[in-house]
Structures are given as structure tokens and as C-alpha cells.
Amino acid sequence: MEPSDYGLIQSCLAGNQEAFAGILNRYKKPVYSVIYNLMGNSTEVNDLFQEVFIRIYKSLDSYNPEFKFVTWAAKIATNLCLDRLRQKKPALVPVEEIEISDSEANPEDQFLARERTMLIRRAVDQLPEKYRMPVVLFHQQGVSYEEIAGILNQPLSIIKNRLYRARLMLRERLCSDGEEAISL
């Protein structure tokens, strides 16, 4: 039976070096996904990934087991990304780096799907931070409203308003770029 997150953390705090390797292995993908979707630049993502886990390691004793570990880790990742974003504008993700999930489509459809996804990614990247964060966390990371409110330290009503507003902004932006660009 796999140890719980709290068990791993206690083991790590007691000096077990392998326990933190277990935590890293368990949460590397969601943390990387959050950083990747927020930053959109592969070099920064790798650096931030390491910084996030170093900060997680140094703050293990402050983790509250009442909350999900992934939410706490996402909060640390989001805060670090916000700090970095405020220092510089993130670069856009090159087309080649965008993965398309439909591997059975013909090349032309794949190209169109890739173009569409690139446009959507670009539109998300261009959203102001306070609107981009809820979109990324809710629609790409599957984080609930309550968890987003905890991560971003904002009331639930504010998060809802921003997410609703962000959806409409995405639609306005993508429709003004050319309606046919996002249709199949």
C-alpha cells in the first residue's frame, strides 16, 4: 500500500532522504503542468520547476494536512510564476511545442488543429494575469473554485467573476482574430 502524502512528509522531516524523492515523483507532472501553462516558456519552466520543489522541501514543516498536497504545491508554483511574470513578459510557445491529442487525424487536419490550438494558447497567454490564472487552473489543471480561491488568496465570488470574464475575453479575442480560425 502506498504511503499517504502526510506519511511521506513526516518521514522526510524525520530525515528519510528517499521520502522526498517519493513526493517529487508523485507530483512532478501536475506541478510541471501548472508552471508550463502559466509561463509558456520552456527554459523558465525548467528553472521554476526546480525552484518550486526546493521551496516545497524547505516549507514541508508548514504543510497543513487538512488540505490536499497538490493544491498546496500548486499555490507555491503559482506564486513563483506570478513573481517571475511580474519581472518579465513570458514568451509565446512555439507551434512545434504544442501537442495535439488527435493522432489519428490526417496531416491537414492536424495542421489546422495545431493552428487552432496555437491561437487559443496565444489568446490565453495574452490575458492579464488575474484572468489567465483562473482559466489555466480551472480548465487546464482541473482545480476547483474553492481551491483556486485558496491558491490565489481571493474570495470565491471574485474568482468566479474573473473566470466568467476571462471566458468572454477569450471569445472576443479569438473572434476578432478571425472566426474561421477557430472553427473546424
Partner: protein, 187 residues
């Protein structure tokens, strides 16, 4: 249902927070309103693309590199001593404030000679403590008799003990910190 209500239902649909009855109401409106249907179609496409995009793959070696970096942090020990650090720095502060109080009062009341008197007083305290302990040991005093031995001395003994403990803790912290400053983070 009007368009304003429809927009609200649309948002709740994309929140996955709409029951079957509400979805039927929404669906009926979408079939009758071209504008709302257009909004629904666009949002479904945009948000669907975001939700179904493949999660990014970790570059190979990143996990190992991260773990190596963490292991190279000094002592590979998570910070579980924040409480201890607060006590240590509190002790340093106590010692500094006590010394400042003694020096300040001495200078204020009687200048440097007053300071020397304070030093002698402290030495007397130490010797008083030693004498008290010798009396207790030699004559086998009971606890009651010991308690009667100068209430003033007992209070001063406690004060001296606290200051000594604070000095010890402060020195230990300072030397430990000086030792750690010699190690550099290889990253």
C-alpha cells in the same frame, strides 16, 4: 429564458454545475437564439481545446536534477527548526537588552563607577549562589530552611540562571551560524 439568464446558465454549464432540468432550459433557448448559440459554440470549442490539450512531458533528467539540487542543500534537512531559531534569537535579544539595561542604569545613576559596582554585584551574586549551595549541602537543610535563605538571593539566582542560559544559547547559535556561513550552495 432571456439572453442574460442564458449567459449565466452557459457559465454554469462550463463550470459543470448545471443539472438536467437547467440544461434542458438552456438547450431550448440555444435552439431559438442564434447569438447565444454562437457564444455557446465558440466557448465550447475554446474551453474544450484547453481542457483536452495533452499535458506537457517533463524533460528527461529534470526530476533527477531537481532531486540532486535538493540533496546538495546543506545537511539535506527540511527546515524543522524554526521554533528553535526563534528561541535562539530571542535569547540573544534578551542578553542584549539585559546588558543594555544594566549599562544604561549604571551610567545614568552613577557613571562608570556604577558600572564597576554592577560587575562586583554580579560577582557577589555568583559567590552568594555558591555559598548558599554549600550551606544547604553542609548542614543538610530541609526544603523549608532552604526557602528561607534570603528570598532576594533566590530571585537573583533565578535571574542569573536565565541570563546564563540565554548567553549559552546565544553563543551556540552564533558559532553554529559562523560555521554554516562557510558552506556554499554548489548550485
Amino acid at each position: 429564458m432571456n439572453c442574460t439568464q442564458c449567459h449565466n446558465y452557459l457559465m454554469r454549464h462550463f463550470d459543470r454545475n448545471l443539472d438536467n432540468k437547467e440544461w434542458d432550459l438552456l438547450n431550448r433557448h440555444l435552439h431559438s437564439c442564434k447569438s447565444c448559440f454562437g457564444l455557446f459554440s465558440h466557448l465550447e470549442e475554446i474551453l474544450g481545446a484547453l481542457e483536452t490539450a495533452c499535458p506537457p512531458e517533463l524533460p528527461s533528467g529534470l526530476e533527477e536534477l531537481t532531486l540532486q539540487r535538493i540533496k546538495s542543500l546543506s545537511a539535506f534537512r527540511p527546515n524543522s527548526q524554526s521554533g528553535y531559531s526563534k528561541l535562539a534569537y530571542g535569547s540573544i535579544l534578551t542578553v542584549v537588552l539585559s546588558l543594555a539595561l544594566v549599562v544604561g542604569l549604571s551610567l545614568n545613576n552613577a557613571g562608570f563607577s556604577g558600572l564597576i559596582l554592577q560587575g562586583r554585584h554580579l560577582a557577589y551574586l555568583f559567590s552568594g549562589v555558591v555559598i548558599d549551595l554549600q550551606i544547604v549541602y553542609r548542614f543538610g537543610s530541609t526544603f523549608f530552611q532552604t526557602a528561607l535563605l534570603s528570598i532576594y538571593h533566590q530571585i537573583e539566582m533565578a535571574y542569573v540562571a536565565v541570563i546564563l542560559a540565554a548567553v549559552f544559547l546565544a553563543l551556540k547559535t552564533v558559532f553554529a551560524k559562523l560555521g554554516n556561513d562557510g558552506e556554499t550552495d554548489p548550485v
